[in-house]
């Protein structure tokens, strides 16, 4: 029986090649989109699955209150480690202090490469369950050791055995390679940790770390833990939440609340608003999941519409089968088998499409997804997916076709009822509602990105480069380097800073000033900079002056941004003092010498944070900022800069970043969403049009006689085109009316997450509406004009 059904289905497919093509290609594209999104979602949900103990690993986060607003983040103070080890060690299998992931130069022989890595405590390889390829798992025991990833080992040692070899780090520390571990996969939170150096080494060699062991207010570290099997994250959080608050009266005013953020939440749910976990990338997972299902639904609608539209052709068969003994259930099964066949063929094509475009998709989505050929689970889910799709696409046609009355069918009096086309019209409206809503959504995302890109950043990011200067070799050389860079003609100005131009690495609190409101808890972005900072970056000075060599007292000077002035509520700030409050060894008071315009440093979608810039008298910067000479080409400038650099630091590789590119990177996540949305929207429209094309062909075919008669009676091609296109255009207009308010509502909600956001302007709707109408008219016109220009005699003969 099943064989018989498949045979008929195959022959029907071959007989109606255009409809078969529309059905299979539409479904194949829809399924390919769903498979790719499915793979992407699985990759997202499996993030960090590489770590065997994922369920028990967490990072310690803290929420602190500043003026009633809670800020949440993973930065914690060093003494927390000791407090946890002392009072709570029974809860943990591992307590691992870690630095942030930073780049270092690793030198072996004549190879000098730049890699990111962490300084971590001894238990890290066990916590992360590192797969040791060579060497020992306890590779962090000795202070002067280093564990490197296989990727780093290949680059530095090629085929040589790295174990026991000495790597020179940042051209100053000689560290012995104790282990090579399997490079951590892209879908892990430690994917850019290509070396691990013992924490002991970190705290004994970095000058700025002296004294941090008992500073509860210095939140400059990370702490990872693995809880014991017999406890839960919530239980441990409940125990440790007040540890910081109870240990230091100075920080208690900020009401610090510690908690464990489980590893499963790091990637997908790491956003917090006023101390409450609000999601994160999980929103994208939902968003694309919904889009994937919609695209699949659109393709299923094509199948449903074309199957039911062509029902009169299948009616006779239904009548015959019923007359010779088939019952309705058998017919339903037959039509479901047909949809299964179509869906199966589409699935095979979809796999081919996925294989063809997976690389491109990976680039677009910034992923490294591999097609899971060998995963039994994938094929099991695929089978369910095929059955599900076949059921969605096939159940309505099956119920509809099998319901025909054999008597009227066989008598030849069968005509689809007056309202038979209504469900089809509703489905077309559904398709276009989804497509138009996707167009509007994509346009809003693009306009938000453009709006934020056009936001004035408060400095001139063009023609500006930054050179990482974290090695101790740079210490005290900033002035000398500035002179040489300018003398070379490559730069017209240079300054230094303690963080890159596009990031804030440090925040400060604990100052007093005249007029500070009672109980005010400030939180200021803190950057130490050199003399020509304002000039180099091209920041607009609003009041006062920049740091100057003419004022020796500038070592205790501070510049504020205009938001800081408003935030702190200082009247006439120039000449006023900011004093270190309540500390045993207060630093000298800082005199406010200048007010600068706000610089967009962090998120381009958020308001600018209140910022203070202090003078770096030690020339101990992290970055050199160079304003390139506009008279030369960029490549000429870079060549000259490299020459100067190499003359001074022959053992360090020359590394630099363009500030405008670094800034552009801030849009990467939203741009990725926009790119994916553009592709999926394009495909949704294509699938919808494919269906419309098929329906238009069907209507033209069905009305062949009418067209012939009308032509003979004098209808022009234009009249006939109008006649055939009108119905479809009305459906698309209805879709526009439904989609516009829905899209407006959803996208207004989406925009709420950006403080700096665009308005949804009417022209977005105008573009989406006119675009949808133009595409519809083109799609339908092809068939309409073809029918309208055919010979009327031929059309009448077809009856």
């Amino acid at each position: 029986m099943f064989k018989n059904y498949l045979k008929i289905a195959f022959r029907n497919l071959l007989k109606n090649k255009v409809y078969s093509f529309i059905n299979i290609s539409g479904l194949a594209i829809g399924m390919a989109v769903t498979i790719m999104i499915g793979l992407w979602i699985v990759d997202e949900l499996n993030f960090n699955n590489y770590f065997k103990d994922k369920a028990h690993i967490a990072q310690i986060y803290q929420s602190q209150e500043f003026n009633g607003v809670k800020g949440t983040g993973p930065a914690i103070p060093r003494p927390l480690e000791f407090a946890l080890r002392e009072g709570y060690k029974d809860n943990f299998k591992h307590i691992i202090m870690s630095s942030w992931t930073n780049s270092r130069y690793l030198k072996y022989g004549d190879k000098n490469i730049n890699r990111n890595g962490n300084f971590m405590q001894e238990g890290a390889p066990d916590l992360l369950n590192l797969n040791i390829i060579s060497g020992i798992k306890d590779g962090l025991k000795e202070k002067n050791s280093i564990m490197i990833s296989e990727y780093t080992a290949k680059a530095l040692f090629d085929s040589e055995n790295p174990i026991g070899k000495i790597i020179k780090v940042n051209n100053q520390d000689d560290l012995v390679v104790t282990a090579v571990y399997e490079t951590l996969p892209d879908n892990t939170s430690f994917n850019d940790t290509d070396f691990i150096i013992p924490w002991k080494h970190y705290i004994t060699t970095q000058g700025w770390l002296m004294g941090t062991a008992d500073q509860w207010g210095n939140n400059s570290f990370q702490l990872f833990v693995q809880i014991n099997d017999n406890t839960t994250m919530d239980a441990v959080t409940a125990k440790i939440k007040d540890v910081k608050k109870n240990n230091d009266k100075d920080v208690a005013q900020f009401n610090p609340q510690l908690f464990l953020l489980p590893m499963k939440d790091w990637h997908l749910r790491s956003n917090f608003e006023n101390g409450v976990q609000t999601g994160g990338r999980i929103e994208n997972v939902w968003l694309f999941g919904v889009i994937g299902l919609f695209v699949l639904l659109l393709a299923c609608i094509n199948f449903i519409n074309l199957s039911t539209a062509r029902s009169e052709k299948r009616a006779t068969e239904v009548g015959i089968r019923k007359s010779i003994g088939s019952n309705r259930g058998q017919l339903i099964f037959q039509f479901l088998s047909e949809s299964f066949l179509v869906v199966f063929l589409s699935f095979v094509s979809a796999i081919a499409i996925v294989l063809l475009f997976l690389n491109g998709f990976n680039n677009l989505a910034s992923k490294s997804i591999v097609f899971p050929w060998t995963s039994i689970q994938f094929w099991e889910i695929s089978l369910l997916f095929v059955l599900f799709t076949a059921f969605i696409a096939g159940s309505y046609p099956a119920l509809y076709l099998s319901s025909f009355n054999p008597v009227s069918v066989l008598k030849g009096t069968f005509k689809a009822g007056r309202f038979a086309a209504l469900p089809r019209k509703i489905l077309v409206v559904t398709q276009f509602t989804v497509s138009i809503a996707l167009i509007i959504g994509t346009l809003v995302v693009m306009s938000q990105i453009q709006f934020s890109k056009d936001r004035p950043v408060g400095y001139n990011k063009e023609g500006l480069i930054q050179i990482p200067a974290m090695s101790t070799e740079f210490l005290g050389k900033a002035d000398l380097m500035r002179e040489q860079f300018i003398a070379s003609g490559a730069a017209i100005e240079m300054s230094t800073s303690s963080s890159p131009t596009t990031e804030v690495w440090s925040n400060r609190a604990g100052y007093t000033w005249d007029g500070k409101p009672e109980g005010f808890q400030e939180d200021l972005a803190y950057t130490s900079v050199s003399y020509e900072f304002i000039e180099t970056l091209g920041i607009k000075l609003i009041a006062g002056r920049g740091f100057s060599r003419e004022f020796a007292s500038d070592s205790n000077a501070v510049i504020l941004n205009s938001t800081a002035v408003k935030y702190m509520g200082i009247q006439d700030p120039i000449g006023k003092y900011m004093r270190d409050a309540d500390t045993e060894n207060p630093e000298p008071p800082l005199i406010i010498v200048g007010i600068v315009e706000d610089m967009v440093v962090q998120s381009p979608y958020s308001p600018v944070k209140q910022a203070m810039y202090v003078f770096d008298s030690d020339q101990n910067a992290s970055y050199y900022n160079l304003r390139l000479n506009p008279k030369n080409s960029v490549s000429q400038n870079l060549e000259l800069i490299e020459k100067v650099f190499k003359n001074n630091f022959p053992n360090l590789p020359f590394d630099y970043q363009f500030v405008d590119q670094e800034y552009a990177d801030k849009f990467r996540s939203e741009e990725r969403v926009a790119s994916l949305a553009k592709v999926f929207t394009g495909l949704a429209i294509f699938i919808s049009c494919l269906g419309l094309f098929g329906l238009a062909a069907f209507v033209a075919e069905q009305r062949t006689k009418e067209i012939g008669v009308r032509k003979i009676l004098g209808a022009s091609v234009k009249n006939l085109w109008m006649l055939l296109s009108k119905d479809f255009i009305i459906l698309v207009i209805i879709s526009l009316l439904i989609a516009s308010p829905i899209a407006y509502y959803i996208m207004s909600h989406w925009l709420q997450k950006f403080s700096y956001r665009t308005n949804i302007s009417w022209d977005i709707f105008a573009i989406a509406c006119s675009g949808a109408l133009i595409i519809t008219i083109i799609t339908v016109s092809f068939q309409a004009i073809k029918a309208a220009t055919s010979n009327p005699v031929d059309s009448l003969r077809t009856e």
Binding site: M1, N4, K7, I8, R11, N12, K15, T316, E317, G319, I320, R321, K322, S323, I324, G325, S326, N327, R328, G329, Q330, P406, V407, L410, K411, G412
Partner: protein
């Protein structure tokens, strides 16, 4: 074999109700060949559809082999139909996507006959209908007469007790028409009961009895043999 009493069937549209069968009663015995005649719209085809268990009467009684079947649901009717009734239509009603062999095989599939047995029985009936040489052709590759032979072959392949023929020669020329009538006679002589709706006096003469209808009622009944 068939006993109908006061059978009624109405067709309703929004404005009017048409009576297709008006308290019709008659009986057909096993092995009979009955022709039903009458002008268009007199209710012949409606009657045939009810007799073939494709349609349900609105009133009266319909006994098939002594069993009251009026009011049976779709599933029960289809079960009874596939084992007992074969149809021959004016417009052949073959499935275009299936070959001659596959068309004839279809009723056997629905009655659950095993594949080997199906091949045997289809080949037998195709031989009998002298259409074996066309077994792999599709309907549109055959002449009208050949198509009707296939339709007859399909109607009889399950050895039904009753064959219902709705104008079986209506789309055929006289030579092909006569051949089809001869086939029906052969089947009847082999014991199959046949009820045939026809406009053709010529064809009706092949039957044992002619029932003439008008406005849903029996007006005369002529016994020919």
């Amino acid at each position: 074999m068939i006993q109908i009493t006061n059978l009624e069937k109405f067709y309703r549209t929004e404005e009017v109700q048409t009576i297709a069968l008006n308290k019709l009663s008659f009986e057909v015995k096993k092995g009979e060949f009955v022709a039903i005649m009458g002008p268009s719209g007199c209710g012949k085809s409606t009657l045939l559809n009810i007799l073939g268990l494709l349609d349900d009467p609105d009133g009266g009684s319909f006994k098939f082999n002594g069993e009251e079947v009026a009011g049976y649901n779709e599933r029960k009717r289809s079960e009874l139909r596939k084992h007992n009734v074969g149809f021959v239509f004016q417009s052949f009603n073959l499935i275009d996507e299936l070959t001659v062999f596959e068309n004839v095989e279809l009723p056997l599939i629905y009655t659950g006959v095993k594949p080997a047995e199906r091949v045997k029985r289809v080949e037998e009936v195709l031989e009998k209908m002298q259409i074996m040489h066309r077994r792999n052709h599709f309907p549109q590759q055959l002449s009208g007469g050949q198509q009707q032979r296939v339709a007859v072959a399909r109607a009889v392949v399950n050895n039904p007790k009753l064959i219902l023929a709705d104008e079986p020669t209506g789309n055929l020329d006289s030579t092909n028409g006569n051949e089809v009538m001869d086939l029906l006679i052969d089947l009847n002589e082999a014991g199959t009961t046949i009820i045939m709706v026809t406009h053709s006096e010529h064809d009706a003469k092949y039957s044992h009895r002619i029932i003439r209808m008008l406005d849903g009622q029996k007006v005369t009944e002529n016994i020919l043999i």
